[in-house]
C-alpha cells in the first residue's frame, strides 16, 4: 500500500476526532419545572429573576426561588425529583460527561425534598450548602438549612453527609437524621415522629407527585356489564 494512501486514511479520522472533542463541551437543559404553585421565580445564569412557568426547562446554573406558601417541583432529566418548599432558594447545575449525568443542588435557604433515582456509574447527585455537602445515590429524604446547622432526613437508602469545615463525613441511613453544624460538629440520630411527619408533608403518600386519594367510577360497557374503574388522583 502506498504511504500516501495510508497516511490519508489515518490522518482524516484523527483530525475528525480532535475536532469532535473540541465541539463536545456544551451541556443544554438539565431539567424542568414540572409543577409551579403560587410564587415561584427563576433566574437563568446572567439574567434577572422572572416569574417561572410550568413546563419551563432549566439550564445548568439556573436559580429557583419560592415565596410563602409556594412550591416548585423540579424534574431532572434522569427523573430525579426535587420539591422546593416555600421560602427556599436553590441553584441547579449539571453536566454530562461520557454519558454520565452529574447534578449539584446548592441550597441558599429553605428546604428541599428529594427523590433521587439510582445513579449510573460515574454519576453523582450532591446537595451543597455553606456548611455541608450531601452525596446522594438513589434515596428519598429532606435536606434543609437553618441558621446554624443543616438537617438531613433520610427515609430510603443512604446519604453521605460531609461537614465542610472539618471535612468529616457520616453515612445517614434510612430512618435517621443527620445534623451538620456550622461549628463543625456532625451527628446522627434516629428520626422522630415529627421528622417523619415533616417528610409526609413534603411528599405525601407516594413518591413525589401522587396523592393517596382514589376515585371510583362505575361504568357500564356495551354489553351492559358494570365495571368499576379505580383511579389514583392527586
Amino acid at each position: 500500500m502506498k504511504p500516501t494512501r495510508t497516511a490519508l486514511l489515518m490522518v482524516i479520522p484523527l483530525s475528525l476526532c480532535i475536532y469532535g472533542q473540541l465541539r463536545a463541551q456544551h451541556d443544554p437543559a438539565i431539567g424542568l419545572l414540572s409543577k409551579v404553585i403560587l410564587d415561584v421565580n427563576r433566574k437563568p445564569a446572567g439574567e434577572d429573576w422572572a416569574k417561572a412557568e410550568r413546563g419551563e426547562t432549566l439550564d445548568s446554573g439556573d436559580m429557583v426561588s419560592t415565596g410563602a406558601k409556594s412550591l416548585a417541583v423540579v424534574k431532572f432529566k434522569d427523573n430525579s425529583l426535587l420539591r422546593v418548599r416555600e421560602r427556599s432558594r436553590v441553584t441547579l447545575t449539571g453536566f454530562t460527561s461520557a454519558g454520565a449525568f452529574s447534578k449539584d443542588v446548592r441550597i441558599g435557604s429553605g428546604a428541599i425534598g428529594f427523590s433521587v433515582k439510582k445513579q449510573q456509574p460515574n454519576e453523582e447527585f450532591r446537595f451543597t450548602s455553606p456548611t455541608s455537602v450531601a452525596s446522594v445515590r438513589g434515596t428519598m429524604g429532606i435536606f434543609a438549612i437553618q441558621d446554624t446547622f443543616d438537617i438531613l432526613i433520610v427515609t430510603e437508602g443512604v446519604v453521605n453527609l460531609r461537614n465542610i469545615l472539618t471535612d468529616q463525613s457520616v453515612d445517614v441511613e434510612a430512618g435517621k437524621v443527620g445534623l451538620s453544624y456550622a461549628s463543625g460538629r456532625l451527628e446522627t440520630r434516629p428520626a422522630t415522629e415529627g421528622d417523619l411527619e415533616e417528610f409526609q408533608q413534603v411528599f405525601g403518600r407516594a413518591e413525589g407527585e401522587t396523592g393517596g386519594k382514589q376515585l371510583k367510577l362505575q361504568l357500564r360497557n356495551e354489553r351492559g356489564e358494570i365495571r368499576e374503574l379505580i383511579i389514583e388522583i392527586e
Binding site: I12, I30, K75, T96, R220
Partner: protein
C-alpha cells in the same frame, strides 16, 4: 433550545438514502440496502435490466471477520432479484457482497466488476458494503418525567415531558416523533438537549376529560424505527367520561395491487414486460393470513418459473403455506431455497414439527439439435458424449442440448423445546430429479441428508451455544437405477456382500449405484458440522465458531454451501466510552483438503479489526477497518499449483449530519485493497476507491444528493507478471422535489462516468398520488454508452394500497 418546525416532519417523509455510490455494471441498475441492523436478517434487493435474458442471479456475501464468501441464489421476480441473509451474517461494522448475473448464454456480469473471468474463485477486490449498525443495548430507554404513569390530573396541571438521556447513541434524535392519542404533535414539542416538553395549554390545546396516551418513536440514523415508549394518564373534567369498552377483535386486512408496463431497449433490441402483483394481509383474532400473486409476461416454459403465488394461514400453534415459499431449516441443510409446494409448522408446546414438500426445479425440455437413425447412435454418442440422446420413435433418435429435470424436495424437522432457551431438532431431507420429466437430459440426481441441530441459551440469552451436524448421501446419475445383484456380482465380486447390504439398507431412500457417494465411511467426506459459542458480558460480544464441511457433502436444499473446508473463527465485538465507540477484532483460520486427496493443503488466514465511533454530539461518525487475508499452500512458488498471496485492505467510512443554512449529511468512503501474489503467476491486484457524497434537505421540500467516486484499479494482465489499468470517475447528481405534498414527487438523476469506462446515465421519475390511495409511478432512464449502442428504459406503474 430548538423548537421543531413542520420542516422536520417533512424531512421524515424523505428517504434519507445515501448518495448512490456508482460502481459500474452493465446489467445491474441498483442494489439495496446500504445499511442493516446487527443480528437481524438482511434482505438484499437488486434491480436488473433485461431480466428476460437472465438465467440466474447469485449473491456472494461475506460477514465481517470471515474470509470466505457465502453464495446464495437470488430469487428473480420481474426485474428484481432478492435474497435474505441470515441474522448471523449481520455482524458490525459491515457485510461485503457482490452480485453475479448469468445470462442464458452463460455470460457472467459481476457487480462490482471483478478482476478475473471467474468471480466465484476470484472475487472482486472492491466489493459493495452494507453498513451494519449495532442493535440498541437493553438499558437504552425513554425516561418519562411527567406526568406519572396512570396519574389523574387537571388539564391546567398537565406537562408532558420526557428525557432522552438514557437512549442509545445510535438514535438520531432529529427523527424523534411524539404522538398524543395517535396524533402527531412533534411540531409543537420543545426539544432542549435531552429533554422533550409539551404543555398542551401553551399550545392552545385543551385536552378533553378521559384517558390519554402519549407515544414516543425513536429512529436510528437510517431512519428505521428503533424504539418506542408510551405513557397513559387521565385528565379530569366536568362530565368525565372514561371508556370502559371491551376491545373487540375485528377483521383487519391491508394490501396492495401493482400493475407495471416496462419497455427496455438494450443494444438496439426492444423488449416489453407487463407485470401485475397483488398482496393481501389479514387478521381475525388469532388468525393471520398473507397472500401474494405475481404474474409477468416473461413467464415461459423454457425458464424456471417467473410467476409467483403464495398463501399462508397462521394460528398460534400452526402455520400453513402454499405456493412459493422459503422455508427456514438448519442452514447446512435447507436455506434460501424457493420451494413451490406446501410448507407447514406445527407447534404443540414442547414439540414442534416443520415440514416442506414441493418443486425446486421445473422440467425444461432440452433443445433438439439433430436426428439420426438408431444404427448411428453409437457413433453419435462417441463423437459428442456431453449431449443428450433420446428415442423419438420411428427408428430414429434425437441429439439435444440437455434440459433441466423436474426436481422435488421434501424436508421434515421434528424438534423439542423452544428456540428461546433450549431446542434439539432432527432434520430429514430428500430430493430427486424425475428422469421421465424430459426427454433430453443427462445425469438425473438424487440426494438425502440427515442432520441434527441444537441450540441452548443461558443466563437470559447472554450465552448461546449452537451445534449442527449433517450427513449426506448423493447420487450424481440415477438414470441406470440401483445395482442389480448380477451387476454387483460381476463388478464387485470381492465386496458383493457389503454392497448388497448397503443397497438393501438405503435402496428405499436413494438410488445406489456406481455414482453413489459416500463410497466409503472410513473418512467423513459427506459430513458437515458446525459449532458456535457466543457470550455477551461486560459490553463484549465474543463469538467462537468451528466448522467442518467434507469434500463430498451435498444438500440440494443448500446449493451454494462451500465444501472441503474446516477451521475456526473467533471474534470479539465490544463497546467503549458509553457506547460511543464500538470495536471488533477477529481471527479466522480455515484449510481445505479435508479428505487428504489434494497434493497440498491450502490455509486461509484472516486477521481483521474495525473501530466505529457513533458520537452523541454533532460530530461525524466514522468506521475505520483493516483486514489481512492470506492464502498459502506448501507447494513451491514456481509451480502452477502454488498458492501464496496476501491481501491488505484498509477502509474508512464516515458520515456527518450538520446544519449550515439547512440540513446536510456528508458521507465519505475510502477503501484501499492491495493483493500481492507471490507465485509465478503474479496475479497482483491494487484497488483504491474514494467516494464523497453530500445529501442536503432544504427548507423547501427538496432533497439533493451529490457524489463523486474515483476508482483506481491495477489489474492482472493477460500474461503472468503484467498488469493493466482500469480507472474511472463517477459523478452522481440526484434531486427529489415534492412538488405537491402527498400528491406529486419528482426525482431526477444525472450520472456521468469518465475514464477507462465511460457512459452517462439520465434518470427521471415521478410519483403521482392522483387519487388516494392510488398512485402512478413513471420512470424513464437513458444510458449514453461509449462505443456501444445506447440503452433506454421506460416504466409506468400503477399502485393501489388499501
Amino acid at each position: 433550545m430548538i423548537v421543531r418546525r413542520t420542516l422536520l416532519c417533512g424531512v421524515l417523509c424523505f428517504v434519507c438514502a445515501a448518495p448512490s455510490f456508482s460502481q459500474v455494471s452493465t446489467r445491474l441498475l441498483s442494489a439495496e440496502p446500504a445499511e442493516a441492523k446487527a443480528g437481524e436478517p438482511v434482505i438484499i434487493v437488486a434491480e436488473i435490466r433485461e431480466a428476460a435474458t437472465v438465467s440466474s442471479v447469485t449473491l456472494a456475501y461475506r460477514p465481517f471477520g470471515e474470509s470466505q464468501y457465502h453464495l446464495v441464489e437470488m430469487d428473480l421476480v420481474g426485474n428484481r432479484a432478492g435474497a435474505t441473509l441470515p441474522a448471523t451474517a449481520a455482524v458490525p461494522p459491515f457485510i461485503e457482497y457482490y452480485i453475479v448475473i448469468r445470462d442464458q448464454s452463460g455470460t457472467l456480469d459481476v457487480y462490482p466488476q471483478a478482476e478475473g473471468p471467474d468471480p466465484f474463485t476470484n472475487p472482486p477486490g472492491i466489493t459493495k458494503r452494507i453498513l451494519v449498525a449495532d442493535t440498541l443495548p437493553s438499558e437504552s430507554h425513554i425516561v418519562f418525567l411527567s406526568p406519572d404513569p396512570s396519574s389523574v390530573l387537571l388539564p391546567d396541571d398537565l406537562v408532558i415531558s420526557l428525557s432522552l438521556l438514557r437512549v442509545d447513541s445510535l438514535i438520531d434524535r432529529a427523527y424523534t416523533r411524539i404522538l398524543l392519542d395517535g396524533s402527531e404533535i412533534t411540531q409543537n414539542v420543545i426539544f432542549s438537549g435531552d429533554l422533550v416538553v409539551y404543555v398542551p395549554a401553551n399550545a392552545g390545546v385543551l385536552l378533553p376529560p378521559g384517558l390519554h396516551t402519549v407515544t414516543v418513536m425513536l429512529f436510528d440514523r437510517q431512519n428505521n424505527l428503533a424504539a418506542t415508549g408510551s405513557l397513559s394518564f387521565s385528565v379530569l373534567g366536568e362530565g368525565m367520561s372514561v371508556s370502559a369498552e371491551v376491545p373487540s377483535r375485528p377483521l383487519l386486512f391491508s394490501g396492495s395491487a401493482n400493475v407495471e408496463s416496462r419497455r427496455e431497449n438494450v443494444s438496439e433490441h426492444t423488449q416489453w414486460y407487463n407485470r401485475a402483483s397483488v398482496q393481501v394481509r389479514g387478521t381475525y383474532g388469532d388468525i393471520r393470513t398473507v397472500g401474494n400473486l405475481f404474474i409477468t409476461s416473461d413467464e415461459s416454459q423454457n425458464r424456471q418459473p417467473q410467476n409467483r403465488y403464495y398463501l399462508s394461514v397462521e394460528v398460534p400453534w400452526l402455520s400453513l403455506e402454499a405456493g412459493d415459499a422459503y422455508p427456514a431449516f438448519p442452514d447446512l441443510i435447507l436455506s434460501s431455497k424457493r420451494i413451490r409446494g406446501v410448507t407447514s409448522s406445527l407447534k404443540l408446546g414442547f414439540f414442534h414439527v416443520d415440514a416442506t414438500y414441493g418443486s425446486v426445479n421445473r422440467a425444461i425440455e432440452g433443445t433438439v439439435i439433430s436426428t439420426f437413425p438408431v444404427d448411428s447412435l453409437s457413433r453419435e454418442q462417441a463423437a459428442d458424449p456431453t449431449a443428450s440422446y433420446s428415442d423419438i420413435g420411428g427408428g430414429y433418435w434425437g441429439k439435444g442440448v440437455p434440459g433441466t429435470y423436474a426436481r422435488t424436495l421434501f424436508a421434515l424437522r421434528p424438534s423439542f423445546g423452544s428456540p428461546e432457551s433450549f431446542q434439539w431438532g432432527f432434520t430429514w431431507l430428500n430430493a430427486k430429479d424425475d428422469p421421465s420429466s424430459i426427454r433430453f437430459g443427462i445425469r438425473p440426481k438424487e440426494n438425502i441428508v440427515l442432520g441434527t441441530d441444537l441450540i441452548a441459551r443461558f443466563d437470559n440469552g447472554r450465552v448461546e451455544l449452537g451445534l449442527q451436524g449433517a450427513f449426506s448421501a448423493f447420487n450424481s446419475d440415477i438414470s441406470s437405477g440401483s445395482f442389480t445383484d448380477a451387476y454387483i456380482d460381476s463388478v464387485y465380486p470381492e465386496q458383493a456382500g457389503d454392497i448388497r447390504t448397503l443397497r438393501d439398507l438405503l435402496g428405499n431412500y436413494i438410488t445406489v449405484n456406481d455414482n453413489f457417494r459416500p463410497l466409503s465411511l472410513d473418512y467423513p467426506a459427506t459430513i458437515a458440522a458446525e459449532g458456535r459459542l457466543a457470550a455477551n458480558y461486560f459490553d463484549h460480544y465474543l463469538r467462537l465458531t468451528y466448522l467442518y464441511r467434507g469434500a463430498d457433502y451435498t444438500s440440494f436444499g443448500q446449493s451454494y454451501l462451500r465444501t472441503d473446508i474446516q477451521g475456526v473463527n473467533a471474534s470479539d465485538r465490544f463497546r467503549l466510552f458509553q457506547n460511543n465507540v464500538f470495536a471488533t477484532v477477529g481471527f479466522e483460520r480455515l484449510s481445505d483438503n479435508t479428505a487428504r486427496t489434494k497434493p497440498s493443503t491450502t490455509v486461509f488466514t484472516t486477521l481483521n479489526a474495525a473501530i466505529s465511533y457513533y458520537p452523541t454530539t454533532d460530530f461525524p461518525g466514522l468506521t475505520l477497518g483493516y483486514a489481512r487475508y492470506s492464502n498459502e499452500n506448501d507447494i513451491a512458488p514456481d509451480s502452477l499449483l502454488s498458492i501464496s498471496d496476501v491481501t491488505n485492505r484498509l477502509s474508512l467510512q464516515s458520515f456527518y449530519t450538520f446544519e449550515w443554512g439547512t440540513t446536510h449529511t456528508l458521507l465519505l468512503n475510502l477503501s484501499s485493497s492491495v493483493r500481492t501474489d507471490h507465485t509465478k503467476a503474479a496475479q497482483n491486484v491494487n484497488n483504491f476507491v474514494t467516494v464523497i457524497g453530500l445529501t442536503t434537505r432544504y427548507r423547501i421540500p427538496l432533497q439533493t444528493e451529490v457524489s463523486i467516486g474515483v476508482n483506481l484499479n491495477e489489474l492482472p494482465g493477460a500474461t503472468p507478471a503484467t498488469s493493466s489499468r482500469l480507472d474511472y470517475t463517477s459523478l452522481n447528481f440526484t434531486a427529489r422535489y415534492v412538488a405537491v405534498p402527498k400528491i406529486l414527487t419528482l426525482i431526477g438523476t444525472i450520472g456521468p462516468t469518465f475514464g477507462d469506462f465511460a457512459r452517462t446515465t439520465l434518470d427521471a421519475r415521478a410519483e403521482w398520488a392522483f387519487l388516494d390511495p392510488m398512485m402512478l409511478l413513471f420512470q424513464a432512464s437513458y444510458f449514453n454508452n461509449r462505443g456501444i449502442p445506447n440503452d433506454t428504459f421506460v416504466s409506468l406503474r400503477f399502485l393501489y394500497t388499501y
